[in-house]
């Protein structure tokens, strides 16, 4: 019995360790084949490293859904013109990005944001460079490298 428990322990923690380390790569968490446009109201912004998170409430016939959108570092966002003053709760934005691998919204809908469009029509890159995200033309640094 102890041996079986040991095997279960090994399998569980081995798999868990792989997930922890995979945390930083785009392809470990997000699906490059699942692009998404999210239009909704900002309800919460987490200005934290290594990624800022923008919570966007989307309302449709079926009700309200909150998407957690991963952005670049707060510094990257600020350099691109996205600040605490421009990304206030209540602002209606359009985020272009990629869904999480599960696409199931369990327990919450998660996406990786590439660019964000503000009510005045301005569009700004909100992602991270060098994470393995698809070269989709949204990252200005990616264009410079080519």
């Amino acid at each position: 019995m102890k041996i079986i428990l040991r095997i279960i322990f090994c399998l569980f923690f081995g798999a868990f360790a792989f997930q922890i380390y995979a945390h930083h790569a785009f392809t470990a968490e997000f699906d490059p084949n699942a692009p998404i446009n999210i239009t909704g109201k900002v309800v919460k912004v987490e200005w934290i490293n290594p990624h800022a998170w923008v919570h966007v409430e989307v309302e449709d016939e079926s009700g309200k859904t909150v998407w957690m959108v991963e952005g670049g570092t707060p510094n990257t966002l600020i350099r691109n013109g996205i600040t605490k003053k421009t990304l206030l709760p209540g602002t209606i934005i359009i985020v272009r990005g990629y869904q999480s691998k599960g696409r199931l919204c369990l327990p919450i809908c998660i996406a990786n944001g590439r660019d964000v469009t503000f009510p005045d029509g301005s569009k700004v890159f909100m992602g991270s460079s060098g994470t393995g995200a698809p070269r989709d033309g949204t990252d200005p640094r990616e264009l410079k490298r080519e």
Binding site: R6, Y21, V43, P50, K84, S129
Partner: protein, 145 residues
């Protein structure tokens, strides 16, 4: 029975062999998963802001225990740089070691910020720490699509 127990300990240690990772990757993997990642998150989670319709909330530690947690993470990061730059782990002589030493500096800066209870500086260090992580990952790990 003891032999069986020994066998399963070996199975635990070599689990990464089942995930197509090489033994060399497995060592770095474990260092990242069990030392560096939790240590970095102790720093990242202790600086920044959350803004909602109710207002702005600062994430800085509110007591000594919180700052001590940051100091612990900072020391783990600076000391782990030596583990990364061990000859058996260094992928090359120059850049790998240079990036490891950059990591050491980040740990030292984070420790200093925690000692001074300077959350603004800790936030800056958190951003710089991530840049060091990305520089290393881009060079040695992540392959762009």
């Amino acid at each position: 029975m003891r032999k069986l127990g020994f066998f399963f300990i070996l199975l635990c240690l070599s689990w990464q062999g089942f995930t197509k990772e090489t033994e060399e990757h497995s060592e770095i993997h474990d260092l990242m998963a069990y030392l560096l990642n939790p240590a970095a998150e102790a720093i990242w989670d202790s600086a920044g802001y959350v803004i909602t319709e109710e207002g702005e909330f600062n994430l800085e530690p509110t007591d000594q225990e919180g700052w001590d947690k940051v100091k612990h993470g900072a020391k783990v990061i600076s000391e782990s740089s030596y583990l990364l730059s061990m000859p058996s782990r260094a992928v090359d002589d120059a850049q790998w070691v240079a990036l490891s030493m950059a990591l050491k500096r980040m740990g030292e800066r984070a420790f200093e910020a925690a000692e001074n209870e300077d959350s603004e500086e800790l936030f800056k260090v958190g951003a710089d720490l991530y840049q060091v992580c990305v520089a290393c990952h881009q060079t040695y790990w992540i392959k762009e699509e």
